[in-house]
């Protein structure tokens, strides 16, 4: 599934989007020696999960999430760049300015593949805005130098509308690494995965459930024509 790429750039708005959405695929690329850079849009400042039991508050959450993001990127062994936008506000920023920002970075890195959210089909407004800006950035690049784009849809109706995604990665063989990446986001993982840290038996079951839900990572190759 993983064709040899020159460099992969992942563009998502929140610390943990990469963990749940693409850390298996990222791990597979890293195992092949492909460099990966994560451009993370915000620090998830407005997240609802404060750890369970809570250990963060609205004012300390961004510091925790910055550390968690760095830890997750260390687990995945990828380069990290934080773009400095604020959680929940991406759709109100100038799309052109974000696109220009991203285009400058892409022209510097010259990736062969960009992974981002599918605009309009990624549920969270920040996902849709970041995905739209990322695709706009690639569109504005010289067609000869354009990377491929894999766009990730999360909406319930995307298969009905577009058919099955053309890229479906089975990441179960690297699922331990994916779980480690998810768990690096300590303030968020508990909320999303519930009582993973319960009894060993329950944890094993939940890991199986997580594997079924998160064991495949799928993307649509964006068509620029």
């Amino acid at each position: 599934m993983i064709a040899l790429e020159k460099h992969v750039v992942v563009i998502y708005p929140h610390p943990d989007d990469e963990a749940f959405g693409a850390s298996g695929t990222i791990t597979q690329f890293r195992q092949e020696g492909v460099p990966v850079t994560y451009l993370c849009g915000t620090l998830g400042e407005m997240g609802r999960n404060m750890g369970n039991p809570t250990f963060a508050n609205r004012e300390t959450l961004s510091d925790f999430r910055r550390k968690e993001l760095i830890d997750a990127c260390n687990v995945m062994d990828v380069e990290l760049r934080m773009l400095g936008y604020r959680d929940k506000t991406l759709e109100f920023e100038s799309r052109d300015e974000i696109a220009k920002h991203l285009k400058n970075i892409l022209e510097e890195i010259e990736p062969s593949l960009v992974i981002t959210h599918y605009p309009g089909h990624a549920v969270h407004p920040d996902h849709n805005a970041m995905g739209a800006a990322a695709i706009e950035a690639v569109k504005q690049m010289d067609p000869d130098k354009r990377p491929k784009v894999w766009a990730q849809a999360i909406s319930h109706d995307h298969v009905k509308l577009f058919g099955e995604p053309d890229v479906i990665n089975n990441v179960k063989p690297v699922f331990d690494q994916k779980m480690k990446t998810i768990m690096a986001h300590r303030s968020q993982a508990q909320g999303v995965l519930g009582s993973m840290n319960g009894s060993a038996e329950a944890a094993a079951d939940l890991e199986e459930v997580a594997k079924e839900r998160l064991g495949y990572e799928s993307f649509y190759t964006w068509n620029f024509d």
């Binding site: 609802r48 809570t54 300390t60 929940k88 549920v123 969270h124």
Partner: protein
């Protein structure tokens, strides 16, 4: 944060009254509410660094859930569902309401210095 101690919070509300303060007020049910439940609505609002000067503030409630109101010259600031609080190392009064899973539902914070944008 700690469970609300009504007398302690009231003391802080009194301390911060009648001076220029910055307010962060927020409520949310998350960006995924209607994704996980088609009958739910996504609602939320926040205002960060609203500069106000309140005449008096009051915390009211019981059984672990509280309301806070700040009476302004020509208006009000109001939050319902607050259940935890903390005075942080910058002497900011942080109040929030969390659900059973520890997710933030409402926050009201008052500071003499602007909050980090």
């Amino acid at each position: 944060m700690e469970p609300i101690h009504i007398e302690e919070v009231q003391k802080q509300l009194d301390r911060l009254a009648n001076k220029e303060v910055y307010v962060h007020l927020e409520t949310t049910n998350g960006a995924y509410a209607s994704h996980f439940n088609e009958n739910a609505y996504n609602v939320g609002a926040f205002i960060r660094n609203a500069k106000v000067n309140y005449l008096h503030g009051k915390i009211v409630g019981d059984n672990g859930t509280y309301r806070v109101g700040l009476k302004l010259d020509n208006g009000w600031v109001y939050a319902e569902g607050v259940n935890q609080w903390e005075l942080d190392e910058q002497d900011r009064l942080l109040m929030a309401g969390h659900d059973r899973e520890g997710r933030l539902m409402v926050a009201l914070e008052i500071s003499e210095q602007p909050f980090k944008n």
